[in-house]
C-alpha cells in the first residue's frame, strides 16, 4: 500500500514535470523563432535593474505606466513590442538622460494605485489633464485632444441632439466619462441618453457598435481615428465635439523634481523636431500643441 502511494506521488510529480517541460519548450521556440525580443522579456530584465537602482539611490530607469490597449498612444505593435507616440517620446527622453525606459502596462482602473504605490514613475499615455489638475503633478501639455462621438454611418445620428434616448458607450475611468458626468460640462447631454454604458476597453465597445447593441461611443479623437482607420468604412465622427482638452504627463503629486527634468527634455525634443516627426508617424500632427 505504502509503495503504491509512493509510486502514485511520483507519477503526479512526473506529470507535473511533463507539463512544465512542455511549457518551457514552448518558450524556447517562441524565443528562437522571433527575432524580436518580446516586450515581456525587456520588462522583466528591467524589473531586476530597477531593484538594483533603488538600492543605490541613483535613477537609472524610468518606469512609464500606460494602457496597452490605447492605440496610437500606447499599444502592442505587429512584432509584439510595446510602442506608440507616447512611448517613443518617452524613449527619446530616456535616451537624453541615459535612463533605461521600463514600459509597464497597467490596468487603467488601477492607475492611481500603481502611481501612488511607486510601482510606476508616471502615467504617460494620452492622459487628459483637464479636470484632474489637482490630482497629479503635471508636465506641460503636449497634445490637444477633444472628446468626440463615433456612430455607425447608417445610424442616422448626425448631431449631439440626435443621441437622445440612445445607448452610448464610454471607457471606464476615462476622460470622456468625466466629461459626460461633470455638471459644468456635458452632464445635461448625458442625461438625455437612453443609457451610458461603461466598457473596459474600446475594442469591445466598437464590436458592440458594429453588432448594433450600442448606438454611439464617446471617445478621444486620436483613438477614434486609429480605430476607424484600422476598421475601415462604416463609421462617422460627429462634427460637434464634447469638449476640447489637453494631454500631459502625470507624475505622483509632489514629484516636481522628476517632472521638471522630463518637462525640459520634452521641450528640447519639440525644438529639434523629434516630436513633430513622431506625431507625423502616428498621424496626430494636428493635435500637437508644443511650440
Amino acid at each position: 500500500m505504502m509503495k503504491k502511494t509512493l509510486a502514485l506521488l511520483l507519477c503526479g510529480v512526473m506529470s507535473m514535470a511533463l507539463l512544465t517541460g512542455c511549457g518551457n519548450d514552448g518558450a524556447e521556440t517562441a524565443n528562437t523563432d522571433g527575432t524580436n525580443e518580446t516586450a515581456e522579456d525587456a520588462k522583466e530584465a528591467s524589473d531586476d535593474k530597477e531593484a538594483e537602482d533603488q538600492a543605490s539611490g541613483e535613477r537609472t530607469t524610468f518606469t512609464v505606466g500606460f494602457d496597452a490597449e490605447y492605440p496610437p498612444y500606447g499599444y502592442m505593435d505587429d512584432n509584439g513590442e510595446y510602442t506608440g507616440f507616447d512611448l517613443e517620446l518617452a524613449q527619446a527622453v530616456c535616451d537624453m538622460e541615459g535612463w533605461e525606459l521600463v514600459k509597464t502596462p497597467i490596468d487603467w482602473d488601477s492607475k492611481d494605485m500603481e502611481l501612488n504605490s511607486g510601482s510606476i514613475d508616471c502615467i504617460w499615455n494620452g492622459f487628459t489633464m483637464n479636470g484632474r489638475e489637482d490630482d497629479y503633478t503635471w508636465s506641460d501639455p503636449y497634445c490637444d485632444n477633444s472628446q468626440v462621438i463615433v456612430v455607425a454611418k447608417d445610424s442616422g445620428i448626425t448631431s449631439l441632439s440626435d443621441l437622445a434616448g440612445k445607448t452610448v458607450g464610454v471607457q471606464a475611468a476615462s476622460a470622456a466619462l468625466d466629461v459626460l458626468s461633470d455638471e459644468e460640462q456635458q452632464k445635461a447631454l448625458a442625461d438625455t441618453f437612453g443609457a451610458l454604458q461603461q466598457f473596459p476597453d474600446y475594442n469591445s465597445a466598437f464590436t458592440e457598435l458594429m453588432a448594433g447593441s450600442l448606438d454611439a461611443i464617446a471617445i478621444d479623437i486620436g483613438v477614434a481615428n486609429y480605430q476607424i482607420e484600422s476598421r475601415g468604412e462604416g463609421y462617422l465622427v460627429l462634427e460637434e465635439s464634447l469638449n476640447s482638452e489637453q494631454y500631459a504627463i502625470g507624475f505622483k503629486l509632489g514629484n516636481e523634481e522628476l517632472r521638471d527634468i522630463v518637462n525640459a527634455d520634452v521641450k528640447k525634443l519639440a525644438e529639434d523636431g523629434t516630436v513633430a516627426e513622431l506625431a507625423e508617424k502616428y498621424g496626430i500632427s494636428d493635435q500637437i500643441c508644443l511650440e
Binding site: L8, T20, D33, D78, M113, N116, F206
Partner: protein, 216 residues
C-alpha cells in the same frame, strides 16, 4: 500582425499562465491540508480563526484579493512597492485563495472516514500520526480527487484574473493584441489554448485517478 506572431505572443503569455498555475498548485495543496487541520482543530479558538479565514477567502472575489495583496503594502503600511513584487503578489493571492478551497475539500475527505478505522488502527498499535499518514490520507486522496480536479481546472481559467494586476499572462496579451489589431481573433486563439491546457489537466488527473483504483 500575422498569425504566427499572435501565436508566439500568446505562447509567451501561456508560459506565464502555466507559471501561475504550477506555483499556485504546488504551494496551495500542502497549505490547504494545514488549514484543514486548523479548521478541524479541537481547540475552539483555532477552529474559529480558520473558519473565519476560509469564510473571507471564499466570500470575496479573487480579483479583489489580488488587488489587496498587491497594493495593500502601500496603502496600509506606506511601503513603496516595485514592479518585481507583481508576480509574488499574484502567487500569494492565488495560493491564499485556493488553499481555502482545498482545505474544505480535504476536510470533506477526512471527515468522511468511518470512526471504526481509527479504532482498528489504535488496537493495532498505530500512533495518531501513523494512522493518519498510512491509513487515512491515502484513502482521503482517492476520495477527493474528483473535487480536486474540479478546482484545478477552475484554477487554469482563473489565472486570467491576473490581468487585474496587469501581469502579462495569456489573457492580458490577448486583450492587448485585440485592441491594437481591432479584432476578436486573439480571444479565439486564447480559448483554444485554455481548452488544450485543461484537456491535458483532465487527462493527467484521470490517469492518477485510475492508478489509484487499486482495489478494483
Amino acid at each position: 500582425m500575422d498569425f504566427a506572431t499572435i501565436l508566439q505572443q500568446l505562447g509567451s503569455g501561456m508560459l506565464k499562465t502555466v507559471g501561475i498555475f504550477l506555483w499556485t498548485l504546488v504551494l496551495s495543496l500542502p497549505l490547504g491540508l494545514l488549514i484543514s487541520f486548523g479548521r478541524m482543530s479541537k481547540n475552539r479558538l483555532v477552529a474559529v480563526i480558520f473558519k473565519f479565514y476560509i469564510s473571507i477567502m471564499r466570500g470575496t472575489p479573487l480579483m479583489l484579493q489580488l488587488l489587496v495583496v498587491y497594493f495593500g503594502p502601500y496603502y496600509l503600511f506606506g511601503i513603496n512597492i516595485s514592479g518585481s513584487y507583481r508576480f509574488v503578489a499574484i502567487i500569494i493571492g492565488f495560493v491564499l485563495n485556493y488553499a481555502a478551497y482545498f482545505a474544505e475539500i480535504y476536510r470533506s475527505g477526512i471527515e468522511s472516514m468511518p470512526i471504526g478505522q481509527y479504532e482498528a488502527a489504535k488496537i493495532l498499535g498505530y500512533s495518531r500520526t501513523q494512522t493518519f499518514i498510512k491509513i487515512i490520507l491515502p484513502q482521503v486522496i482517492k476520495r477527493i480527487l474528483p473535487s480536486v480536479t474540479n478546482e484545478v481546472i477552475t484554477l487554469v481559467k482563473d489565472t486570467s484574473l491576473a490581468f487585474s494586476l496587469a501581469y502579462m499572462e495569456m489573457f492580458t496579451i490577448a486583450k492587448q493584441i485585440a485592441a491594437a489589431q481591432t479584432t476578436m481573433m486573439p480571444f479565439v486563439v486564447a480559448a483554444v489554448f485554455y481548452y488544450i491546457f485543461n484537456l491535458l489537466v483532465a487527462v493527467v488527473m484521470e490517469r492518477i485517478e485510475k492508478s489509484l483504483d487499486y482495489y478494483k
